[in-house]
Amino acid sequence: MTEDDTLVLRPEVVAFVEEVRRHLADLDDETRDDLLDGLDADLAEQLADGADLGDPAGYAAELRSAAGLPEPRRRRRSIRVAPAELLDDARARFLAVAESPRFRPAWELLVTLRPVWWVARAWVAVTALDVAVGPYEYISVVPTLAVPGLGPLALVAAIVVSTLIGLGRLWPASLRASQRRYAVLALNTAAVVTPLFLSIPVPAYLGYDHYDPEYYGSAGEDYYQRGLFADGDPVINIFAYDAAGKPIPQVQLVDQDGRPLSVRLRDAAVYDDDSEGLRVPCPARNGGAAVTNAFPFAYVRTSIEGRCTAALAARSVPPTPPLASLPPITLPGR
């Protein structure tokens, strides 16, 4: 080259280099700039010598390969990736790891344990429903669903459905294959995530002392004051009197919307100075579920247990009303 042969950069060269740059988008800026620096001058001169530019994609690939750079990982710029392809890809990648010699034994064990997962997700589904519809209660092995007999039935039905889905025998025929796979993926994810929001009993060594959902409420309840309060202090027991002013043995209370006026059992447990132990409430029960809006709570002393177990409940005693009686009342207008 001599000093005076000025290159003319034609628009098609600029466009071509831009297109090549686009095909190298996955490289880091420095590598890409190194690769393309001076290319416009070379191409401009080539063009002036009568060569044609060709296909930018192929050109980028050749440039990349000759420079010893890795192939693009994915077609990053492709606008539509078929969902099935995406799932296949993810599955292939996962299996490549899972079936590698290192993980193969564990993976094979997991595969044989698939039915356990089918049962577990069925349980999660029914339990989530149980928690969503019923009054606050224990998480139990067999969900209660508030109606006697319904819980076990629903659980069995859910396990059957879950297993059939797992075996690939049951699914709405109207869904396309990829939609089915997404649906199963979504449901399985939900089955994994949902338990995080259930109030699972956590052993004391994991944090809370005597963490028990019946006493401490679900995790969500701790975000804000729950339970009943009077002038800012938690109400720990309620005594009802009839119109004649005599104590009523048991009442169930609800608010204007029919929501139970529940006392948190955690608040209701009190330290007993005399026995140097706890006096814990023994709530009334509806089947297995504690009813925390039925008053007054009976109490039992305990030195070990943080809550009223079945054995303790047998020893519980009804509380003495703070007042033996109230003045009788008359209803307005009578």
């Binding site: 080259m1 000025t6 290159l7 003319v8 950069l9 190194d34 690769l35 620096d37 001076g38 290319l39 416009d40 001058a41 070379d42 191409l43 401009a44 001169e45 080539q46 060569a51 050109y59 980028a60 050749e62 440039l63 990349r64 390969s65 000759a66 420079a67 010893g68």
Partner: protein, 111 residues
């Protein structure tokens, strides 16, 4: 025989040899390779090879600006590049001799 595959293996040494003779920019190197007989060589292959040899330290590069139009990126050989060239040239000669000695005399000698 597909010469592009053969070329792939010897492009490094060919590019080094050309640049060793005289510094050059991409198209200049390409042209000299083609003039030298490697007519099939692709431009992107040469440019990519230049960038790779540069990244590996076998070549150095400098930019020659122009008042108008794009600048040219020149490549020159480094001491490391010279060593690599010497080594690969030796390897190539020995390899080529070996293959030649394996071929039937009539074809090997004339082609």
């Amino acid at each position: 025989m597909d010469t592009t595959q053969l070329l792939r293996g010897v492009l490094d040494v060919a590019v080094l040899a050309v640049v060793e003779r005289e510094d050059g920019y991409g198209y200049d190197v390409l042209r000299r390779l083609r003039t030298g007989g490697l007519t099939e060589v692709g431009d992107a292959s040469v440019y990519g090879t230049l960038r790779r040899l540069y990244a590996a330290g076998a070549l150095t590069s400098y930019v020659v600006p122009s008042d108008e139009g794009p600048h040219r990126k020149y490549y020159g050989i480094t001491p490391a590049g010279r060593e690599q060239l010497a080594l690969q040239a030796k390897e190539w000669t020995s390899f080529a001799d070996t293959v030649t000695s394996l071929l039937p005399r009539s074809t090997g000698a004339t082609s």
